[in-house]
């Protein structure tokens, strides 16, 4: 959570030393930091029982498209491409629109953070949505990221007690994933590790809405 603020601070200090300031860099990191902070506050309020989520029919595909719009510039800075493979025919799921947005933002943010590699090869993050027997499955994957089930279990056990609960997957706190875990749980969905073709990632299955929709 501190990293984007550190980036902004160091860019400002660098500007003072070199007389060159990358405003796009500052704006992009500030924007991402604020979104993550909002997501974190929401998940903390839910975790502490201070807030309950009202669920309503929400388009998962549209929320995914919105999320990629929000994080597009941060992904570009880190050398990542964002793709959405979510047909609108998937329909609506019972979710809280703000919480779903925050959960997907958290997942995507953590993936971008983990994939910011030295290599010039582009890294890819894929959002998927599909209708399954159990409901609307929303997922975030990357071919460059392995996410074994044990990593997620361990992160849950260490939540709040470890500085780096997923060291084999990412160097940071994985806060985005833990935020998403709390938010999905509050929407009656459980975050799980999964694979999409050759990509590793995380999915949550939301209860489908049977409301008619003009989509």
């Amino acid at each position: 959570m501190k990293t984007p603020f550190l980036r902004i601070l160091s860019q400002a200090q660098l500007g003072r030393i070199t007389q060159e300031v990358d405003l796009n860099y500052i704006e992009t990191n500030a924007d991402a930091a604020l979104k993550m902070l909002d997501s974190f506050i929401m998940s903390t309020q839910i975790y502490n029982g201070q807030e309950q989520l009202a669920l309503q029919p929400v388009s998962v595909a549209a929320t995914m498209h919105d999320t990629t719009q929000y994080l597009y510039r941060l992904a570009q800075l880190q050398g990542c491409e964002l793709e959405v493979r979510a047909p609108r025919s998937v329909g609506l799921a019972m979710a809280n629109p703000l919480a779903l947005q925050a959960a997907l933002t958290g997942l995507c943010y953590s993936f971008i953070h983990a994939l910011g590699k030295k290599t010039s090869k582009r890294q890819t993050i894929i959002f998927t949505a599909k209708l399954t027997r159990d409901g609307v499955q929303a997922g975030v994957f990357s071919p460059q990221l392995e996410m074994p089930a044990e990593v997620l279990h361990q992160a849950r056990r260490l939540k709040g007690n470890a500085r780096q609960p997923m060291p084999t997957v990412m160097h940071g706190s994985g806060a985005g994933i833990l935020v998403a875990d709390t938010l999905f749980e509050a929407m009656n969905a459980t975050l799980k590790t999964a694979r999409y073709r050759s990509a590793g990632g995380l999915v949550a299955t939301l209860v489908p809405s049977h409301q008619l929709a003009l989509l």
Binding site: Q13, I17, T18, T168, M170, H171
Partner: protein, 133 residues
């Protein structure tokens, strides 16, 4: 004695791509070149080639952490005296650093990232690179 015109070499072990770019840029301003590695293993693999005069190290790394890196580094006789500046998000009290550990691992500075400006970092690297001659 090294030629004072020769660019001095720092090994930066920093997992965050964007922060690493800022640190490298600020060192370039004072004619200090740097090699950047994101993981402990890559850093170990690069040391013979880089022959750094000083290592800037984040403790929180992907895979093996910075403490593991330090112990491996110090197990090689040739690399035992390379000074280390810890530049990390981990607070000092959580690392359990004391004088004995600092001395054993040649940790010459501890810098908590949120409280260390790039100007301060520049000065510290210059100070310790000067001593390593």
């Amino acid at each position: 004695m090294k030629n004072s015109e020769t660019a001095r070499q720092v090994l930066l072990v920093e997992p965050d791509k964007l922060l690493a770019a800022s640190y490298r840029r600020v060192l370039t301003e004072v004619n200090i070149s740097s090699e950047w590695q994101q993981t402990a293993q890559d850093a170990i693999n690069s040391i013979d080639k880089v022959r750094p005069e000083i290592i800037l190290l984040e403790v929180q790394l992907h895979g093996h952490n910075g403490i593991e890196f330090l112990h491996e580094l110090r197990s090689y006789p040739d690399w035992q005296s390379i000074p280390i500046i810890l530049l990390t998000l981990v607070p000092e009290h959580e690392l359990g650093l004391n004088d004995q550990i600092r001395q054993q691992l040649s940790i010459v500075e501890y810098c908590y990232k949120p409280q260390t400006s790039l100007e301060q970092l520049q000065k510290l690297v210059i100070k310790h690179i000067g001593k390593s001659e």
